[in-house]
């Protein structure tokens, strides 16, 4: 079965999560993109979801490994090698 020429809102919505993660084929990405360009409601949903994902990623703390742990691992690996 070939690809449709354009997507309905329902079809675009079904693909929204995969589209957000760029996990669709190039053709499917293009179809969703084209739909978002002509549908204000779906585009607004997409922008919102995308903003939440980016916001969560930005606010999650980047934690550096504690120096004590780094030293312990290094010592254990040296023991392994001997």
């Amino acid at each position: 079965m070939g690809l449709p020429d354009r997507l309905t809102c329902e079809e675009a919505f079904e693909r929204l999560d995969d589209y957000l993660d760029r996990e669709l084929t190039a053709d499917q990405m293009r179809l969703v993109h084209e739909h978002l360009e002509i549908c204000a409601v779906c585009a607004s949903e997409y922008r919102f979801e995308s903003g939440i994902i980016a916001g969560v990623r930005e606010k999650l703390r980047r934690v550096a490994v504690p120096e004590g742990l780094r030293a312990r691992i290094s010592a254990l690996l040296k023991d392994q090698a001997n």
Binding site: E49, G55, L69
Partner: protein, 216 residues
């Protein structure tokens, strides 16, 4: 030092043992590239600093012993996270959720979008997602992720923190890509509900609605 993942992946791939024309990198040098990320992931898996340290240490030892099974030229970061994740599931997993007991089972898609639209936020601002995120602290987001059950928390952590693709998460967790897709989508919806419920409890939702976009 915290580095960009693509830099880590290319460094780990280029210096993988046996890669054409490149001398074999010692295990410890590859481990160093992924250690900060692994600890951050372990903290979210275990939700406990002591367990996270033990988990990373154990995974590092297992990885060192099994380094001969690492495929030259493949993704060391994903390989190491697979060991870390296996180790978590076999030894550190605790069935009970932590933090607030939230009912996340009945969660609709677009949960936050619908809740914020119902409260009129979308007519107040051009960027409702930014308005929401502006009010949600890192601590609240950590709590929301911590409220997810193990399987959902694991894929959400790998997705949000390490920014792995579905295929990479499938390899790390050892489940089919289709399972990752459905688990991750559901985890995101549940996370949105958890964020909203916790924000409501803290009185943050009313703050969101009371503030309008100054740029309008």
């Amino acid at each position: 030092m915290l580095e960009d993942r693509s830099v880590i992946d290319s460094a780990a791939t280029l210096s993988a043992p046996g890669a054409a024309g490149v001398p074999q990198a010692p295990f410890e040098a590859l481990l160093e590239l992924v250690l900060d990320g692994a600890f951050a992931v372990a903290l979210r898996y275990t939700r406990n600093r002591t367990d996270a340290e033990d988990l990373v240490q154990e995974a590092a030892l297992l990885a060192c012993r099994g380094f001969h099974t690492f495929t030259p030229g493949s993704n060391f970061r994903a390989w190491f996270h697979r060991i870390l994740t296996n180790c978590f599931y076999s030894k550190y997993r605790k069935e009970r959720r932590q933090g607030a007991e939230l009912d996340l089972e009945e969660t609709s898609e677009l949960y936050l979008y619908e809740e914020t639209a119902a409260l009129g936020l979308h007519s107040q601002t051009r960027d409702p997602a930014a308005q929401v995120m502006d009010k949600l602290t890192g601590e609240l987001i950590e709590e929301a992720i911590g409220s997810l059950s193990d399987d959902y928390r694991v894929v959400a952590t790998l997705y949000f923190l390490e920014e792995f693709s579905y295929q990479e998460i499938a390899e790390v967790v050892g489940v089919p890509v289709g399972t990752v897709r459905s688990r991750l989508h559901r985890a995101r919806h549940m996370l949105q509900k958890a964020l909203w419920v916790i924000a409501k409890d803290r009185g943050i939702v009313s703050e969101m609605i009371g503030i309008t976009d100054q740029g309008e």
